[in-house]
Symmetry: C2
Amino acid sequence: MTDLPESSFPKPSRGRLFVLSGPSGVGKGSLLAALLDRVPGIVKSVSATTRLARPGEVDGVDYHFLTREQFVADIAADRFVEYAEYNRNYYGTPLAPVALLRDQGMDVVLEIEVQGAQIVRTVVPDTVLIFIQPPSIETLEERLRKRGSDSEIRIAERLSIATAEISCIPLYDYAIVNDDFDHALDQLRSILVAERCRVPSEPRQ
Amino acid sequence: MTDLPESSFPKPSRGRLFVLSGPSGVGKGSLLAALLDRVPGIVKSVSATTRLARPGEVDGVDYHFLTREQFVADIAADRFVEYAEYNRNYYGTPLAPVALLRDQGMDVVLEIEVQGAQIVRTVVPDTVLIFIQPPSIETLEERLRKRGSDSEIRIAERLSIATAEISCIPLYDYAIVNDDFDHALDQLRSILVAERCRVPSEPRQ
């Protein structure tokens, strides 16, 4: 069989990098879990944190749980794609596992907040940035209340952060309104499938 | 309900413009027909041509069948987004119906060849260009033979044109390998769904 020139059939050996952001309570975790369940060839990168493990959380699965000393040493050694301090704890995306997975041809998705997303974009310019948004701030408020894990003050704080985050949508490539779960999941999956068909404009970084 | 700023929820009033190209015999017509059948809100723009109608083809549905004189008059009157001479016949995309459909919020897809696609891109920069490719030139040859409508010389000519067309894939946004029909259709639909989630970088033209 005569193979066509390789450039005609872009089958990148390197996996793609996706970032998923969205306000707390918007349902991005459930959407991502359902996506990973249905689509082969994509994995979530495990973040590192200095916060304590909650009951049921497994080190290396939910998070890499590090001491503050370990985390600060990793920052100094440039071992994070991005990191941020949030609620007096550090959160970060370890560089090496992401690079390793992508070298193996796996697509990798990071679930990180707005500032982290922008930093990742500067490090890996062809990162695909996806924002999950609520139909309205009221819907988000309703969902946070139903979740029942936050105080009134905490809910007000989350809504104020959400409004700031939503104003950053123009910095993203795609925005999905999580109104109907199945519809939003179809859109998320479609973005992944479409990006796998994208003709690379330059060699993948 | 407090509406979020409009820029946060990009719901463009204007429809998007898609171009579908690919070698003769690659199956893009069947893929497009299946897509239009399944996805609401997208229509195919009917091209004009000077070639004769094939058995079963309907004027105004498959093509606007024009005489060479009518076509040349329409060129002179700037009535085409793009036009090209291909296989000794003129093919063109009438401007007015595309603009009208998009103004009504419909996504419009043009099934046109490589040169036409590039011209459309210069006229409407945010056009999404999709290329349907065969798994190999041999597969395409097999399909053309099975179709049984072409002479040996005509098949050789089509394959030579196909090879030239395939070398233009880097000019496209997306490339789909039509190996398995359902898989290719899912990819085509995903591109459409994903593009509808795209955050516009500037007002749609």
